[in-house]
Every structure is written in structure tokens, then in C-alpha cells.
């Protein structure tokens, strides 16, 4: 009975590890559906079939700064059926602050629910030292990540290196900006697995074993 957050460097295999860990433990995988659920509960929108779509956070561009309003980073859409059976769509665009607050509520709710795996999104910051929250980080040396991205995601080697560096910088920036933490500080995590030295199968196994032997809380 725990909530696992998984922070991962791009190309470290963290997503695959997170999915397999949640499968093996029978935990819910925190996804857009859970975010959308939170959105409707927050009263952001009413209606059925709420859909949450989140842009990749990118550092603010010149135009954004120029116009000085929070960047729009997410949209929530819902389909509403009225009495006549006609269906209409309502779309609400969230700015950064609303988006981050929504994510925070959704993650706190997921924590109350328990038995969830939360990937990224500042989970390690939002849940911090709450009992039963177990923070994992997956990382690997850059060359190993470049190779994986090249093999699995069809990047060229140069492209993979650029992508890895850029994505990681964006993630670090996001976490610094909205949660005031240093993404790569090992002390944020209960377990760090280096997939440059241990393969994904080993990582999946060790994370699930660690969780299974946590002291029972909550």
C-alpha cells in the first residue's frame, strides 16, 4: 500500500519501467484520465468524457514574456449532451498556474487513493515525505541514453543527444520554477537506479521488491 513517484531522465527507460512496475504491483498508473477526473471534480468543467491534454512545458518564449500573461499549457475539453440529445463541446484552456494547481490536486488525490504510480509531473515534490510515498529516480549516463533513444525512438545520434539534454533541462526548469527543487538532488529520492549499470528488467524487479518491503503505514 504505497504511492510511487518515478522521476526519470529522458532515454533512461523510466517510462517502460514505470508501466511494468505498476502492472506487477497491480497499481493504477496515473495518467491523463486521472488528471481529467480531478479537473471535473475541481469544477473546471461539467459534463461527461473530460479530456485533459498537456503540452510539454517549454521555457517561456519572448512573445510570452512580451505579453506578460501566463502561458497556456493545457486544455481540458468535455462533451456535453443536452436535453435534446445534441452534443456540444466545451473547451477550457488552462494557464501554467492553473495547470500546476490542477496537477497538484490530482496527485494529492491519487495519494489519498493509494496504490498508484505517478510518473513525472513533480510527484516527488508534491508528495515529499508523506508517509507511504516512495520516490524513485531512474537515470543513466548520457551515452547510454543516446544509444537507447537512437535504437528505440529512431533518433539520429546527434538528435538523440540534443533531445535528451533539452528535455532534461525543461524538466529541471519546470521543477525549479513550480516546486523549487533541484531535480537531480539524490536526497529527493528513496531509490535511484542507474540503468547504465542495471538493465530495465533489473530496475523493474528492484523497484517492485523495494515497494513490497516497505514498512506498512497509512
Amino acid at each position: 500500500m504505497a504511492v510511487i513517484t518515478i522521476s526519470r531522465q529522458y532515454g533512461s527507460g523510466g517510462n517502460e519501467i514505470a508501466v511494468r512496475v505498476s502492472q506487477q504491483l497491480g497499481y493504477r498508473y496515473f495518467d491523463k484520465e486521472m488528471l481529467a477526473q480531478a479537473a471535473s471534480e475541481e469544477g473546471i468543467l461539467n459534463g461527461e468524457k473530460v479530456d485533459f491534454s498537456e503540452d510539454n512545458y517549454k521555457m517561456r518564449g519572448f512573445l510570452d514574456r512580451l505579453f506578460n500573461w501566463p502561458r497556456m499549457v493545457a486544455q481540458v475539453g468535455t462533451r456535453i449532451e443536452d436535453k435534446t440529445g445534441a452534443i456540444s463541446e466545451e473547451i477550457r484552456i488552462l494557464n501554467e498556474v492553473e495547470s500546476v494547481n490542477l496537477i497538484r490536486s490530482a496527485i494529492e488525490e491519487a495519494y489519498e487513493h493509494g496504490d498508484v504510480v505517478i510518473v513525472g509531473r513533480g510527484g516527488q515534490a508534491i508528495l515529499g515525505e508523506k508517509p507511504g510515498a516512495f520516490h524513485v529516480r531512474i537515470q543513466a549516463p548520457l551515452p547510454a541514453r543516446v544509444e537507447r533513444l537512437h535504437e528505440r525512438e529512431n533518433y539520429s545520434l546527434g538528435g538523440a543527444q540534443d533531445a535528451a539534454i533539452k528535455r532534461d533541462r525543461a524538466a529541471a526548469d519546470y521543477l525549479k520554477r513550480f516546486h523549487d527543487i533541484d531535480w537531480s538532488d539524490p536526497l529527493l529520492y528513496d531509490l535511484v537506479v542507474n540503468t547504465g549499470k542495471l538493465d530495465s528488467e533489473a530496475a523493474i524487479y528492484l523497484v517492485t521488491e523495494a515497494v513490497k518491503h516497505l514498512p506498512v503505514t497509512k
Binding site: E129, F134, R137, Q139, A140, P141, P186, L187, Y189, D190, L191, V192, V193, N194, G196, K197, L198, D199, E201, A202, Y205, L206, E209, A210, H213, L214, P215
Partner: protein, 225 residues
């Protein structure tokens, strides 16, 4: 059939974990005796050997250099305290090996231990000396400062302020040692297969996780030198 190196923050429970891992796997614990044995084989007497435990290493001040008159490899001027602590002998003028020779001694003792296998090596630059060797699992044990201070208070009778001070000082010493003699950043997670936080995982859980991780190492052929 492996070697485990354990690097740990002071007060994080690393020693307990190492001991438990040795029990669970039937491994030997690499300690002073192995270093003494290596030194004896090299023809040194016990009094000439200092177990260069990196968390007791402290940076030489300019004054130390000035006073000792050395210009070459430096004699360790904090050695008196170590002699007392480690070998239980009274203070005396140390005609010790210089630092470089001491490091070489430890390196060769660790390499010997690696060849003999089934050993847990605590600290002493094991993660650097055995860096790319097959059949070695590198683990780091850490904990939030608060948890470490609490443990030191409970187990070693430090006051809370005293515990904090000594934890930070010992860690700084270890980091300096590793940077100076092995050119590594102690805190870099990529030096290790696993970093384990003992804020959440207790000694038993951490030890068992390490045992499982050993099982995940790729099988090795003949060990290189």
C-alpha cells in the same frame, strides 16, 4: 559470487546494512585486517600502517605544510588521533608512509579482495578503484540529514547539534578524500548501481534489496586483473 562496494553518508546506517549483507550472503567484510595483511605482505610493520579511513581525512592547512617542512607528498598531520582511535596506541611521532603510499596500499588491498571475491568493501574509494570491473555492485547509502542526526543521537550518544556537526564534517572529509585521490564526486549517483535512502527503507529492507541487486549483475567470465 560478487564484490559489493558500499559508500555511505555518515549516520545513514551503512555499516549496519553492510554487516547484514555479509550475514545474508556469507561474504567477508573488508576491514582493517585486510589492509594490515596487505601491508604485512609488503613488508611493513603494523605501526607503520595507518588505516586511511577517508571520513577521518581532513584537509591540510597551509600551516600544516609550513610546519612540517615538506614540499613533496605530505605526511598526514592528523595521524595522531587516528593512531589512537584505530590501533589503540599512544601518541607518538609518526614515521608513517606518506599519503601516496598509503593510498597505493589500500588500492592493492582492495584489488586483492576483488580477486578473492565474495566481499563487502565499505568506503575507502572502492567505487573508484573497482570502477569498471565486472562482478562488482556499487551501492550508496544516504539519508536526509535529520534522520542521520537522529540516528547518531540515538546510537552514538551525540547531542543533536553535535551529531549534525560531525555528520557534515565527516561527509566533507570523505568527499575531499575521494576528490583528491580518486578524482570523483562522491555524490554522483552515476558512480553507483543503486542509491538507497534509509529514510524509508530500514536496515533489513536495504540489505535484502542489495542482495537482490547482486543477483541482477550480469554473469561474469574470468575476472580481469
Amino acid at each position: 559470487m560478487a564484490v559489493i562496494t558500499i559508500s555511505r553518508q555518515y549516520g545513514s546506517g551503512g555499516d549496519d546494512i553492510a554487516g547484514r549483507v555479509c550475514e545474508l550472503l556469507g561474504y567477508r567484510y573488508f576491514d582493517k585486517r585486510m589492509i594490515v595483511r596487505a601491508a604485512t605482505a609488503a613488508g611493513l610493520s603494523q605501526e607503520e600502517i595507518m588505516d586511511f579511513s577517508e571520513d577521518k581525512y581532513e584537509i591540510h592547512t597551509f600551516l600544516d605544510h609550513l610546519m612540517s617542512g615538506w614540499r613533496g607528498p605530505y605526511a598526514i598531520t592528523h595521524s595522531q588521533a587516528w593512531q589512537e582511535e584505530i590501533f589503540g596506541v599512544g601518541p607518538k611521532t609518526l614515521s608513517a608512509l606518506d599519503e601516496i603510499k598509503n593510498i597505493s596500499l589500500i588500492e592493492s588491498a582492495i584489488r586483492t579482495a576483488y580477486q578473492r571475491d565474495n566481499v563487502v568493501i565499505m568506503g575507502r574509494g572502492g567505487q573508484a578503484i573497482l570502477k569498471e570491473k565486472t562482478g562488482v555492485l556499487h551501492v550508496r547509502i544516504q539519508a536526509p540529514l535529520k534522520a542521520r542526526v537522529e540516528r547518531l543521537h540515538r546510537r552514538e550518544n551525540y547531542s543533536l547539534e553535535g551529531g549534525q556537526e560531525v555528520a557534515l564534517r565527516r561527509d566533507r572529509a570523505a568527499a575531499d578524500y575521494l576528490h583528491r585521490f580518486h578524482k570523483i564526486d562522491w555524490n554522483d549517483p552515476l558512480l553507483y548501481h543503486l542509491v538507497i535512502g534509509t529514510g524509508q527503507l530500514d536496515t533489513e529492507a536495504a540489505a535484502r534489496l542489495i542482495v537482490k541487486a547482486v543477483g541482477c549483475l550480469p554473469p561474469i567470465g574470468l575476472k580481469e586483473e
